[in-house]
Symmetry: C2
Subunit: 287 residues, 2 copies
């Protein structure tokens, strides 16, 4: 366990040099190595359980809902009828949990390369992994890139819940991946990919946005706050085959009562709209 001080886990990565966050740890619940990565589950003192892959915090029980709700409901509520959805990655099951909840979604394919991550999450993070066994969801243990290459005009929405662009996830940020996704979409389909923090990954965020813009007739970038990710924010790159889409104006909105029934903790229609209002310094790079 990467540690600055006994009893604390410290996240350090070349992507975010010079700054890091640490979580106080009560107990290491699991530590193992799959075919693809090192897997660590921690019982933290104040953030609930944490899933760590190759030394990077993927989610903690305390704030995961922000990421999972936003990466799911922003694209789903931007689409008039998101019946068939594909999730690439997302082994913890949190995105599947959110996507399956959406009333218009009929079926979800999830393709995750690392079965060990899903098994570990079923055991230690059932609050997220519950998504993997939802009746709407079919899990495929496979390479997302190859899986998508075989699908043509099949999905309404594709969500890429990948780890960061180092190691195994690198291909999921490149132009040919976005190209394959665009071919796997039905007319007017939408993609939404995890796309970094505009604070310390400004160059990467801008490049990803521009890649999406090359491939799709419409592109957008939104973000949410989440304390246990670097800089406390994470962004989403969105592309649509519908050139007239306005991502920031959800075509489906939910009342407070409906949001309560859906057990939403972060997402509201106002939050959806606001997620596209970017700081001037990053907006300027998109011009």
């Amino acid at each position: 366990m990467n540690s600055f001080k006994k009893g604390w886990f410290t996240e350090r990565n070349e992507l975010w040099p010079g700054m890091c966050i640490s979580l106080e740890v009560d107990q290491v619940l699991y530590e193992g190595k799959s075919k693809f990565q090192e897997i660590l589950v921690l019982q933290t003192k104040t953030q609930g359980k944490a899933l760590v892959l190759d030394g990077i915090i993927q989610c903690t029980e305390n704030d995961e809902f922000s990421y999972q709700e936003m990466i799911s409901f922003i694209p789903l509520c931007s689409h008039p009828n998101p019946k068939k959805v594909l999730i690439v990655g997302g082994g913890d099951g949190g995105v599947a949990r959110e996507v399956a909840k959406h009333p218009l979604v009929e079926s979800v394919d999830q393709v995750e390369i690392d079965n060990d991550v899903m098994e570990v999450c079923k055991k230690f993070l059932p609050g997220m992994a519950v998504g993997l066994s939802h009746p709407k969801v079919t899990v495929h243990v496979a390479d997302g890139f190859k899986f998508i290459a075989e699908k043509k005009q099949f999905y309404d929405v594709i969500i890429t819940d990948s780890s960061d662009p180092v190691g195994p996830a690198v291909p999921l940020f490149q132009q040919n991946y976005f190209q394959l996704m665009s071919e796997a979409l039905k007319p007017n389909g939408i993609v939404c990919s995890q796309a970094g923090t505009f604070w310390s990954s400004r160059k990467f965020v801008t490049e990803t946005y521009k890649t999406v813009k090359k491939v799709f007739p419409a592109a957008g970038y939104a973000f949410t706050t989440i304390p246990t990710y670097p800089d406390g924010v994470i962004g989403f790159a969105l592309g649509s085959l519908n050139p007239d889409i306005s991502f920031k104006d959800p075509v489906q909105t939910f009342s407070d009562e409906e949001l309560d029934r859906l057990n939403m903790k972060y997402y509201t229609s106002d939050v959806h709209r606001a997620a596209f209002a970017l700081p001037k310094f990053i907006n300027d790079t998109f011009r």
Copy 2:
């Protein structure tokens, strides 16, 4: 210097248990003790220089503009004619720099209790301290609480740029302070106070919002993202003597060209509106 590991500064505080951020340090530029607090200035590896008071990061050159622009321009652009402004605290000068920039502002009083902080910032953080010597700004070295008690119907906008609610800043979050501010305001005046993170200080944020609501006919809460503050976010509690105000709709807006001329890096009119779209979990506590 509080350190988890040699060469790193680690922020730890009872307000945010179980989680902390660390900055890699190239050099300690200043370390001293004023009548009120311990003052530390660090040259960090990737976040520019950092000002640290009593072990808490107050600002770094890399991201300070987010906080300074938002705590200033949200109240100023919510007021039709913010001629006379008071800043309480804000010894680094960053808020004064932003407030003085606003075209409708004619004069600014700044009351800071700790002269040493201002002197240290003039020497090591001139990019912020420049605000303290702006011709519109008059600096008073005094207790903000007492200073305000002597002013009646005097200011259009009062901004409280305090440290966190431990130690010397505690009174600046209490009801009688908001009461005194309401009396120091002209009709339709506005206050804006630093008011914590809704992630780990949810109870405090809710209490502060409710305190403002007790004293003012209109209350609001907005936030911005800032990587070197706890959770990567910081909020602002707003109160107005104008019961019909809608804080989220700025009465002054600026074009992209005007924002460029004002050297804004974070604030835009869209960002202003979006800053009031709160995650459902915190909005629910305000109902």
